[in-house]
Symmetry: C2
Amino acid sequence: MYENLAIVGATGAVGRLIRQLLEERKFPYKTIKFLATKRSAGTEITFNGETHIVEEMTPESFKGIDIAIGSTPDEAAAEFAPWAVAAGCIVVDESGYWRMKEDVPLVVPEVNPEAIQNHKGIISSPNCSTTQMVVAMKPLHDAAKIKRVVVSTYQATSGAGVVGEEDLVEGAKAVLNGSDYEYKAFKHQIAFNLIPQIGGPKYEGYTSEEMKMVYETRKIFGDESIQVCPTCVRVPVTNCHSESILVETERPISAEEARELFEKADGITVVDDLGAGEYPMPKTCTGKNEVFIGRIRKDISCENGLTFWCVSDNLRKGAATNAVQIAELLVRSSAAV
Amino acid sequence: MYENLAIVGATGAVGRLIRQLLEERKFPYKTIKFLATKRSAGTEITFNGETHIVEEMTPESFKGIDIAIGSTPDEAAAEFAPWAVAAGCIVVDESGYWRMKEDVPLVVPEVNPEAIQNHKGIISSPNCSTTQMVVAMKPLHDAAKIKRVVVSTYQATSGAGVVGEEDLVEGAKAVLNGSDYEYKAFKHQIAFNLIPQIGGPKYEGYTSEEMKMVYETRKIFGDESIQVCPTCVRVPVTNCHSESILVETERPISAEEARELFEKADGITVVDDLGAGEYPMPKTCTGKNEVFIGRIRKDISCENGLTFWCVSDNLRKGAATNAVQIAELLVRSSAAV
């Protein structure tokens, strides 16, 4: 039984959402504690009607804890996860640090729930831009085997944290008032502009964010033959990442078949009526836990291609929701034993 | 000799830019007149230091005119162009009405200047999203024959006219103030949002804007075998369209070769240093006449693929600049005779 929980990075934007989701989804637990780095320790938070003081994370914090859900910067995750594992606690980690390590399953519950069984104490949740894409790919891959993906992203500023959201709002005010604003999360003005770079240079002109979409996708599907060509772009949208996705499959899939597959799939909501002006948009998908798909159509440039538009709340399914779903999987699997 | 000019739709956003470009580029002329529909007739404008009154366009307006540059809605173009042709005037038309008609060359001077010779009185300038893409495609197509293009656009609100720009500014103010705003050019909120639809449903789930990128590209290159899969998205950016473009060529092109080809090509400026955070962005490309290219890299999902990011001022190269360049071609070709 997993009944003693810790939330690490409890005061961040994703940490706050994790707390909210645990309440909403009535996550079962006996005890819960909230941890953070020294800077945020001491913060008072309310959870399920009770007041808690956020504690500074130390090796001792994890004694007696069964599951720790972490949403911290990479450096903090590199530090706390081994403490937790040493204390016999299973870590569900949202950071980038553990995702590609051998022996660390990278899990999206709609795609590869079975992978959690192979954990050695740490289970990773993928990067936001990967998660919504693999949820969308899953039913198509099962039906017709995806060989190649071409994806262009339209990523919200909340992906760069609270400071990213602030940059957009304050930057937009400055443009509209004709005043100056110094950006904190971004290298360039993001208000009324686009920045075709997320992360630093990583491989052959691709950024780290782009290569995450390549490596993580292969790891999640357990298929090194899936080819991915990503372009990641920051757009002046506060929340929800959008992706223009083209997949090529081993056998052709019609738009009608794809729509049926998407409609039956776990975690996907289809919104697709072009004539009526209905398709997923950041404004309509924010605050929701699913992956939304629209503009489903045959790729008219390739027999075996299919293209569609995919939007999801990057702080929820792209982060908090997926981590909580992994923890739920753990709880269910322990109940089944 | 072409020495008597008319500017039709002289008071619109593109019309204003055409006037400005004719001044800047010292376009040669003896007489010039400014025409518009009844609604805008009577407006006073200054051109090369002289005051002109905008006249209502009628069949008589085109008597003695050699070249008419038109930037009007489709219905107005359908009406005035035959009047002009009947009067012996050559029309350079920016509207969508004539582009795909047989006997009407569709011209981008960097790509198919020779096509102007086949005109029967009307020469069309392509849709903004097509123009910048074909300029970018040209050197690659010449070097290695493009077989397929996958493109996702990030299109500015100025593409929907002055009302589109206003919608973004007023809509953004409303969001920031917590007040309401009724959008005029767009079906949905565009401020801090994305709309994955430009134009109405046209073919198999693709919009009219998307199919323009297919049909116009084939016509401009005179190659019906070029396959194009477009996704057109409106983004909360005031001016400059951006495009994430992937091309597949008959023989592979390396990123280095592509960079050299782009650097030597007419009308293209390469801005490509990811490590230094340098790439084209709407904010840095607005007010410029060229097509800007960055993020040049091998498609890591396909041997013969190449991918890059392309930004251009949709009101300039996407409209006014291209039309003025066509008129300059006409003037040069008549001088050569």
